[in-house]
Each structure stands twice: as C-alpha cells, then as structure tokens.
Symmetry: C2
Subunit: 101 residues, 2 copies
C-alpha cells in the first residue's frame, strides 16, 4: 500500500523565500532509495503568525519510508537541518498516511 | 502551478470502517471536471480520541479547484454529506497547497 509522508513547517512571515531556497538547493539523496517515488514541497495558506508549508513524499510502502529514516542517506540529507530553526515557529510536525483509496 | 486540496477528518474510534465505506461507495463526479488530476483517501495515525483521515485531490491549478467548488458537480458530490456527521469529531478541516517544488 502506498504511503505519503508529510512534514509540516510554520514559517515566520517574511522568511518564506529563504525557506524555499533551502529546499531548492538541498541534496536529498532520495533518488536511489528503495521504494521512493516522488518528492514535492507544498506551500499552504498564511495567517497573522506564519505561512504553512509541508514536505510531501510518496513511497511504495510505510516500511520503505521507515527503512529510509534509519539509513545513512537520511542522515546525510538531514545533516545541518538544525541550522534552519530561526525560519520556523515550533518544530516541524510529522504526519504519515496510508493511501487506502 | 499544481494544487493539492486536502480535507482532514477526525474519525471517532471504531467508526473507521463505516467512514471508509462512505468513500468507497461515493460518486464524486470528478472525472469530467476541468483540471482534475487524481483523488485519494489517506489514513493517518490514531490517538486515544480519533483516527485522522484526509482526502487528497490533485489539480492543475488552484483556480480549477475553486471553479469546481462553485460547480453543479460539487453540489451533487456533497449532497447528503451532512448525514455522516456522527462519524467525526468537529468539522472537516480544509487545507490547500500550491505544489512549488
């Protein structure tokens, strides 16, 4: 069963361009990962506090996704991610979904 | 720019099968709608209160999605949706996203 992994980010107003640039120039090392299908960055609505963004990756199965999170590729892709903290409010919030229909 | 429309539902524990059945048997009238690409129903995690689900439809653009919400097809697809209320906690919560990368 396909699986969609999303990570939600509340980006401080005015920091949107900088946040997008991080993703545009990021090396994800995903292309050779087993079960990985596609990756997108999504931009949601803004309110008075923040603009919502979400990463959106599609996998052949939840197991493939979990294996990736324990892999060396995952570590490499997230190295230095902590230094982007000033761009967002709170922590990124993960949500995973089975594609059932 | 592609657009993803998601509607989040908090389903009362034990009502999951009934909720999925509603979607399985639903006529969405989407296939002939301009700009519509694909539809999926996603199942997220459960906590002590509910199981998270989300509808997930992909569109050629936000404008195509907005036009659909004002159309006769939309009215037809949502006729009677109110009667499923006992299955969920609170209201469905809409989130729309531009696919920027």
């Amino acid at each position: 069963m396909k699986y969609i992994a999303m990570n939600r980010f509340k980006i401080i107003l005015g920091k949107e361009e900088e946040f997008e640039q991080v993703w545009r120039t990021r090396e994800t090392y995903l292309d050779e990962v087993k079960g990985f299908k596609e990756f997108h960055l999504l931009k949601g609505e803004s309110n008075e506090e923040y603009t919502l963004y979400s990463s959106h990756s599609v996998w052949d199965s939840k197991d493939d996704f979990i294996s990736w999170t324990k892999s060396e590729s995952f570590k490499k892709a997230h190295r230095g991610a902590g230094k982007n903290k000033p761009l967002y409010i709170g922590r990124p919030m993960f949500e995973g979904f089975d594609v059932i229909l």
